[in-house]
């Protein structure tokens, strides 16, 4: 239906409106992907905790810090997609 509107939009529906709908659809697709990625980041952070309980090394703290920064970046990206797209 969106494609038909783009090819031959009605009198009150322009191609710009169609593009806007498509961009909105794309935006929420990115939000969904980003949200799933935040969940993956949480799993990675949790898994490091389980791994370091099994084997403790001097570099464990740095790895935990990297995973937390990674999680923070994923959350920031999700917020960016929701607010600024």
């Amino acid at each position: 239906m969106v494609f038909q509107l783009m090819v031959s939009p009605g009198p009150g529906f322009t191609q710009a409106d169609a593009a806007g709908y498509l961009l909105a659809l794309f935006k929420w697709l990115l939000v969904a992907v980003s949200f799933l990625y935040v969940l993956v980041s949480v799993i990675i952070t949790r898994q490091i905790g389980l791994m370091r309980a099994t084997v403790t090394t001097p570099q464990t703290r740095r790895l935990v810090l990297v995973s937390l920064i990674h999680l923070a970046c994923a959350i920031v990206l999700l917020v960016y997609f929701v607010l600024f797209l």
């Binding site: 794309f26 403790t56 090394t57 001097p58």
Partner: protein
Amino acid sequence: MPKVFDSSTYKKKETMKKNSSKSSPHSGTERPVRHRSVDEYSDVLAAEPNCDRVFTSFIPKPTRVSFESQAASENVVLLLRKHPITQLQWVITALVFAVMPLGFSYFPVYDMLPFSYKLGIIALWYLALFGFSFQSFLLWFYNVYILTDERVIDVDFISLAQKNITSAKIDNIEDITSESAGFSSTFFNYGNVLIQTAGAQQEITFEAVPQPAKVTAILNDLLLEEEREKIEGRTH
């Protein structure tokens, strides 16, 4: 007048002997349990300095390394990982995906997007790439093979959700074989060490570890020391 017999020093010596026999927990028929340092019985490890580098896969006598089932008297003598060259596949994949965004502008759909969308897509791409690389690194970093003075442990994180830990006592080891096949194995000096044990887990394999001949020599030293401890009664 010369001193023929000084009872004060004699009494002191007797008192000291009595005190030492009372304080010694192993007085009488018990022998003290003394485990030798690994440098004392293994020439191979004595020649290796203590190591704590991050991106290395052969770590002799690591400091500040421990694992969850480690006993208080158990010391880690060698920590092994797969040789870094075995990780080349995901490294190359990551590098290829890192340069792919340069070709995004050749796609008309991408080119028509506003700048904020392009920025978001690029950021998501590189964040996902970092996540993939970090996960691959973690699986390499925490899949370790641990040699202690008592046991051999294989820690396997098959995925982020699956863990497998196998251990065997050194004195249950029956056979040790090292194999190194292929050009890259020979060139980079890595290979497999197969350990046959008498326990429930009959075979433990150290896959693609560096310096497999040296690992085999260290295992032989540990095995010999266990035998000596049994003969000399230095076991728990």
